[in-house]
């Protein structure tokens, strides 16, 4: 177990393409950090640099007290779970788990003790003598994690490990990974493009965009105080509504309504409102703005109403029994409105 420190880490490919720009990140011992962002944001590259599968072109990566830039993957004391599991198809599950230990010339008794222990934790004892091809997707996933935990490494690296599973299994395995990490207390870095996975698993989220960090924080911090319009739109489902508005003395004017912001700004502003942070109001209510309804999605517990405010797309989540006409008057929950700079997209206040 160890802390992982990234200092001004960057990656420039041979062709001059910059995949990762100067990342600073301190991951504490035992922490579960999730790197999240859209495809091409550099999250996998960053993880592979920590693993030693990609060279580090700028900055320093340290695991524990040791700078590992030039250290071979095998010597970094890390274990990685791959998206396609990368199980060795010609070896049984037992051989798959033992391979990394054997290569390190560990005693046979110790290998079998660790394999049995991992098998017990992951409930794969019954398949130890099967080949990966005879396992289901979920079982393969467990074997891949087993191969990581038998090593008892300083850190686990997960590269989108759940994206090859079906939706139901994904939710189940997500829970299992969370419990496993809590139980073992091993420092973990987890890469995903799924914001829900990121929210549910992380102690701390790192939102990446275009090879740069947009925001670092606990899931709730990031959800409640997104640092930019990018984070605001990326974290949370359904996504936060972003409206171009005009502000005067800290109040945004849009759709005939007035929405108070946290910062005393004047001029053009991007107003952010989560679909669940507005409630219907009577026509003529102080500050209410108008949503022209386009269509409705029934989700069971609630309904999602899509439409436009001043011609800009807007969605709101209402109780499933809410009555609807052609238009809705909406008021935001107190303090729920987010203001962002109209030019830079950075959070205001």
């Amino acid at each position: 177990m160890a802390a992982i420190t990234l200092e001004a880490v960057g990656k420039t490919y041979a062709g001059g393409v910059k995949a990762v720009h100067s990342i600073d990140l301190a991951i504490q011992d035992g922490e579960f950090v999730v790197l999240v962002g859209p495809s091409g944001c550099g999250k996998s590259t960053l993880l592979r640099m920590v693993a030693g599968l990609e060279s580090v072109t700028e900055g320093k990566i340290s695991i524990g007290d040791r700078m590992v830039n030039e250290v071979e993957p095998a010597e970094r004391d890390i274990a990685m779970v791959f998206q396609n599991y990368a199980l060795y198809p010609h070896m049984t599950v037992r051989q798959n788990l033992a391979y990394g230990l054997k290569n390190r010339k560990m005693a046979k008794a110790e290998i079998s003790r660790r394999v049995d222990e991992a098998a017990q934790i992951l409930e794969i004892g019954a398949f130890l003598d099967r080949k990966p091809r005879a396992l289901s997707g979920g079982q393969r996933q467990r074997v891949a994690m087993g191969r990581a935990i038998v090593r008892e490494p300083a850190a686990f690296l997960f590269d989108e490990p759940l994206s090859n599973l079906d939706a139901k299994l994904r939710v189940q395995m997500r829970g299992e990974i969370k419990q496993l990490q809590a139980r073992l207390g091993t420092t973990s870095i987890y890469v995903t493009h799924d914001q829900l996975e990121a929210m549910t698993l992380a102690h701390r989220l790192v939102v990446l965009n275009g090879g740069q960090i947009e925001q670092v924080g606990t899931p709730l911090e990031v959800y409640r105080k997104p640092a930019s319009t990018f984070v605001a739109a990326f974290i949370g489902s359904p996504a936060m509504n972003l409206l171009n508005a005009k502000a005067e003395g800290g109040v945004a004017h849009v759709g005939g309504g007035r929405v108070p912001l946290a910062a005393a700004v004047t001029g053009p502003v991007t107003l952010g409102l989560r679909p669940e942070d507005v409630r219907p109001a009577d026509a003529g209510t102080e500050g209410a703005f108008v949503l022209k309804i386009a269509y409705v999605e029934e989700l069971g517990a609630q309904k999602l109403v899509h439409g436009t405010v001043e011609g800009q797309n807007f969605a709101c989540a209402l109780p499933s029994d809410a009555a609807l006409g052609q238009a809705l008057h909406l008021v935001p929950e107190p303090g729920a409105a987010h203001g962002f700079d109209a030019q830079t997209g950075k959070r205001l206040g």
Binding site: A51, L53, E72, A74, A86, Y88, P89, H90, Y99, R133
Partner: protein, 292 residues
């Protein structure tokens, strides 16, 4: 399985007819004739034919020349297969590691396969010609006097190289495809698991290539036993003193040069049986061992 139904009952037979005609005229008929002739004795002019039962076969296995030819064939076949597979695998590994210009190398390395077998033979014959060849000159610099016209071992090395060379291209293509179908993450996982490049090759890459390798072993065996006649004919003609007289060349020598048709036919039937047996054994082995 996709099944196609024809409304016309005759059309499907018409469609496969050309291929069937070729197969029957050029393969099944001569093969049948060979089997028939192997039980007969015929004079050199084809005027008298006598039924002799298994006499041709019995004579064959008592003939020291034939036993020698069998031994030569074993050495030759194993030599060609080993050289062609190992060289091809090394080249494929090199290309697999090359990020840039991989396709260009691949194209160049596949070229020898397009060279006519007789030309291949002549080419190597010139290269190794004791009087005018480049290789004997280079070898003489390190004190070795190459002469495949006199030394049996030299002749064997020459025919193995000549026969293996075009086959390297063929094997190389399959190995490249096989290597590219191994996911990169497999190698990365092994690297993280503490396996160095050599260990990775023997514990991960080679086992995952085994289906390709076994297929190529079968193909190369059959090639070396059956399809190497032009190479022998153009280089050593079985010599010196029968040192490179492999079964397929002896069939030709005894039948078409010596006009001992009965014995030649029996030899070709034995050769056919050997190849069929080897192929069956290897496919059994593949089914049991290679799957994963």
């Amino acid at each position: 399985m996709k099944r196609i139904f024809f409304r016309n009952k005759i059309l499907p037979y018409l469609l496969i007819a050309p291929q069937m005609v070729v197969t029957i005229i050029f393969f099944l008929w001569p093969a049948g004739e060979a089997v028939l002739q192997s039980f007969q004795r015929e004079d050199a002019f084809g005027l008298h034919t006598t039924w002799v039962g298994l006499a041709n076969y019995r004579a064959l296995f008592q003939d020291p020349d034939y036993i020698h030819s069998l031994q030569v064939t074993v050495v030759f076949t194993i030599g060609v297969t080993a050289v062609a597979l190992i060289v091809a695998l090394l080249l494929a590994l090199a290309v697999d590691r090359t990020i840039k210009a991989g396709p260009a190398y691949t194209t160049l390395l596949v070229w020898p396969y397009a060279v006519a077998p007789a030309v291949v033979g002549v080419l190597w014959w010139f290269l190794f010609n004791p009087t005018i060849g480049l290789m004997p000159y280079l070898l003489s610099l390190v004190g070795y006097h190459w002469n495949h016209a006199l030394k049996g071992d030299d002749a064997m090395i020459l025919v193995i190289i000549s026969a293996a060379w075009p086959q390297v291209s063929y094997n190389f293509l399959f190995f490249v495809a096989g290597l590219q179908s191994i996911p990169g993450s497999m190698r990365e996982a092994a690297a993280i698991d503490g396996a160095g490049p050599v260990k990775r090759f023997f514990t991960i890459t080679l086992p995952l290539l085994s289906p390709t390798t076994f297929f190529l072993v079968v193909v190369n065996f059959v090639y070396a036993m059956f399809a190497t006649f032009p190479v022998i004919d153009a280089t050593t003609q079985g010599g010196p003193a029968g040192a490179t007289n492999i079964l397929v060349f002896k069939v030709y020598q005894d039948g078409f040069v010596g006009l001992n048709l009965g014995s030649s036919a029996a030899q070709s039937v034995v050769l056919l049986a050997i190849v069929i047996a080897l192929t069956v054994i290897q496919f059994r082995f593949i089914e049991r061992r290679v799957e994963y």
